[in-house]
Symmetry: C2
Subunit: 126 residues, 2 copies
């Protein structure tokens, strides 16, 4: 059996993996990261339109959080009307690699998950 690298760390409250999950595993962070990865630097309203369904509050909150964690860069121009551009930092680009690993797993194995759910629901029913 393979032992994970952070074998002894994972059960501590301050395990780095758990911290990273806490940082990006909310409803919108991954979607925002992918939006910036796919379409590059974008303004606030462009992001909101591209993503669709995200409220101003959550877009702002998600961007602030990603900025605070050094994954997203916020470039504000002192003009009227305001112009603010968001982009991935070099650090933010590196995290897309493990995320794509997860994306790859999802596309490969999610059908099995759905089968398991159907079976589970069936066995619980009776």
């Amino acid at each position: 059996m393979n032992q994970p690298d952070c074998q002894t760390e994972i059960f501590k409250a301050n395990c780095p993996t758990q911290h990273v999950l806490d940082a990006i595993a909310d409803k919108w962070s991954v979607i925002v990261i992918y939006a910036l990865l796919c379409s590059g630097t974008q303004r606030y309203n462009e992001l909101q339109r591209q993503i669709g369904g995200i409220s101003q509050k959550m877009l702002t909150q998600t961007l602030r959080n990603l900025e605070r964690n050094g994954l997203v860069h916020r470039q504000a121009y002192p003009v009227v009307p305001p112009k603010v551009e968001y982009s991935l930092t070099p650090l933010g680009e590196t995290i897309t690699e493990p995320l794509e690993a997860l994306c790859h797993w999802a596309m490969l194995h999610f059908p099995e998950v759905e089968i398991a759910r159907t079976r589970y629901n069936a066995t619980v029913q009776d």
Copy 2:
């Protein structure tokens, strides 16, 4: 710029990546998966002791959720007192690979995240 595999999928509500994140990105799922990966098949109370800090309610809920998604196998023995063993399914073992990629990223880059947080807090302060 690299385009992710699920480029056109990520913005849909039913993107498989988002579904997978929804399934495992709660407070305890990843920890339970790692506990079963590191120490193999375990009974309910063994798991609770090993993880530490998890309530019965959340351990049960997390295990049920993982079982429903086909990542964990529940083996109940009809004896008194009850004996129930939990283990990763073959599908559950495959998901540890992308999770370790994330773990690897975390250990490699989390110091940068902490630096970014310190800097962010400093710039916000004034």
